[in-house]
Symmetry: C2
């Protein structure tokens, strides 16, 4: 048993879909979330830069006495997870492996699609994770750079969102996939639109939910779960524009996100 | 006469539309361009953060012995121009005042529209500059957060771009403006689409071209122009992902953008 908080981080607000899945699945676990909104997005940044930023955030989370860390950012998971796991005294979990495992289990046709930011897709992280699970899979990947700004505009079902999604999904549908990994933390908010366009024959794999499930298993195995009488408290920090974080955070989590602490990673780096 | 280069900077690649206007209008002037691609976009960042980043870039440009600086970024102009002008030993020019002046001169109806990023619009910089020019103007502003990612996808005339532009332009057309300031350096690439949607009765004011014109006047007045036998050389630096900068840079300038130097502002800060 351990009442310490779980650390969760992302380049910005998108990781709050992962936080939400954790709040829902593990109601007794306290959390502390850091969104690096001053340096968002990580997607177009080089792997070396993403690794450096992720290490700074890990150091900050360690100072909050977290008992485990969830990298709720596909780009940071793709580029920095092994480094973070090597550096951290507590377990570190990414979003890629849980989503890949669920997709490999869900497909019947053996053809799996992955959508994500340009950085995540270019990293090949999902392709590698899927082929590690099942080397016989056919994997079709598609970068969808306009999905994040569409979500941040709140245009989940706008005709423009539909027109954009139709273009991005074209190679996915052409390949006849029956499982699609939503490989970006913003994408769960587009689920109804994607489900409508793809039909019921395609399973939508939400990395956020799968990651929460993996975290639950990990806490139990390591004896790190909070006791059932624990009352969860949630904290949020952002490296810039805490008002925007609070506003969009409510959209992403479906609950009030406040107060949001302004964190200066550069000043606190030791 | 002065053969020194003109410094140009932006949060990323968008400012290259301003650089292009300078290359075209002032063919004897050498330039050095810095795109802060590691920290792009500035739009959602707080004014204090944008001022700090801009000051770091100004210091770097000064070390390149520039004779003048163009802030080719609407957000940086909105938040940091007075600070930069106070700190710099050479003249510093922003993109807001030239665009506002041109729009105030172009309108007959007295109703002017401004489109830009969320940060630029929230700053009120164009509204203030327009009302300083002509206090009787009616100014309608509209943030268009999806335009930058659309341009970076190269979707200048995609049906989705048209659907998105129709939504954003609705309050602009409803107000009966006859001049529209393209208050973001990415937007000149959407000019054909915007002209098609708005019709010939609305003058599209390209801040990039207006800024190049203002720069030409400033160099002449201060005796800083390059002699007519000068052969211009152009340099480009970026703080991350120089390959992407080179690729998109060619799209923005219509000419090869290479080599691109990787600049580490944090390491070089003194």
């Amino acid at each position: 048993m351990n009442r310490g908080p779980i650390g969760i981080f992302d380049s910005g607000i998108g990781g709050l879909t992962v936080a939400r899945a954790i709040y829902d699945l593990l109601p007794h676990e306290s959390t502390v979330y850091l969104g690096d909104t001053a340096r968002v997005p990580y997607g177009p940044k080089s792997p070396a830069t993403v690794r450096r930023y992720s290490a700074e955030i890990l150091a900050w989370l360690e100072r909050q006495d977290v008992k485990a860390v969830v990298v709720a950012c596909n780009t940071a998971t793709a580029h920095a997870l092994p480094d973070l796991q090597a550096a951290s005294p507590v377990p570190v979990l990414g979003v890629v492996a849980p989503g890949a495992r669920a997709a490999a289990g869900a497909t019947r046709s053996g053809s799996v699609g992955v959508i994500g930011t340009a950085g995540t897709i270019a990293s090949g992280a999902y392709r590698n994770a899927l082929l590690t699970e099942r080397p016989d899979l056919a994997v079709v990947e598609q970068a969808c750079p306009l999905f994040v700004p569409l979500v941040e505009e709140g245009w989940f079902s706008h005709p423009a969102a539909r027109a954009i999604a139709e273009v991005y999904l074209q190679p996915i549908t052409a390949a006849g996939v029956d499982a699609l990994v939503l490989g970006c933390t913003h994408y769960p908010l587009l689920k109804p639109l994607l489900a409508d366009l793809l039909g019921s024959g395609v399973a939508l794999i939400d990395s956020a939910e799968e990651t929460a499930r993996d975290l639950a298993g990990l806490l139990q195995r390591r004896g790190l779960s909070a006791p059932s009488d624990a009352v969860a408290t949630h904290r949020w920090g952002a490296t810039d524009d805490v008002e925007r974080f609070a506003r969009l955070g409510a959209l992403f989590t479906g609950r009030p996100v406040a107060p949001v602490e302004l964190v200066d990673l550069e000043a606190t780096a030791s």
